[in-house]
Subunit: 151 residues, 2 copies
């Protein structure tokens, strides 16, 4: 995991700077991500569930809207594991921190985070070859985790 430089108390400023208002809904949605180190890739429904567990009964539509907003602000980012829903994770705000990838177990469906700047130097190579200016990348590895390997 890249360092998370964004702190909850930065939220109000970040919002107002962009013409948005601070609300309990926004604070608590973001809080869920700080709470949940164990499962860092949450769907809107999951966030909604976690909020319910903490007795915050916000509308699901509001959760969706605020997840979207937090993405716009660069605080969250979307990830897609082809499991039928959009997932969100805390965006690493370290600009160097490209090196955050996912190992996806085809058996138990576990998602493992993997650190390494895999593509060191590679982006320049691609840019040179194809004229494509790279802003970001996403790498997923599919296979079998330690526990599932022996079938």
């Amino acid at each position: 995991m890249g360092e998370k430089f964004f702190k909850l108390q930065d939220l109000r400023g970040m919002l107002s700077k962009n013409g948005y208002k601070m609300t309990p809904q926004r604070k608590e949605v973001l809080q869920i991500f700080f709470d949940n180190d164990a499962d860092p890739h949450l769907s809107a429904e999951e966030v909604h569930e976690f909020l319910k567990k903490k007795d915050f009964d916000f509308g699901l539509a509001t959760v969706y809207r605020n997840l979207e907003l937090l993405c716009t602000l660069g605080i969250l980012s979307k990830v897609n594991f082809d499991d039928g829903c959009t997932r969100y994770e805390l965006a690493s705000t370290d600009p160097k921190a490209h090196q955050h990838h996912h190992l996806i177990c085809l058996k138990c469906k576990k998602i493992i985070e993997f650190e390494e700047d895999l593509l060191e130097g590679l982006e320049e190579k691609i840019t040179k070859k194809s004229g494509f200016e790279i802003v970001n990348h996403e790498v997923k590895f599919f296979g079998y985790c330690k526990n599932c390997k022996g079938k």
Copy 2:
């Protein structure tokens, strides 16, 4: 594009070997992918449209079912460009042909295929480090294509 070793006339055998029947619907759905070198990443709706243009009026549900089946058989594979639908492409049946990646232009949304075994040697490194056995990977680069680069 890795070589496509799979040929249309292999379809019947591939189907019956797995207990499925050959039907015009299956043949024509696959044919669309052979027809369309220009746009190799088709959604179910698009396949359905292309079939209509050739006067094949198959039900959309059938198209979905057969795309799924062709994936099961390893003839097609799914790709996800986060544009709201599942897309399908001819699976490269060359087992060495891992090296097929996508450059996605954030401006014009064009998808550019890019060849290169980017991750040469890297998979072993990951396996050693994490015990994760890698079967396949998917790499996407987001940025701006040659035409869109200057804004």
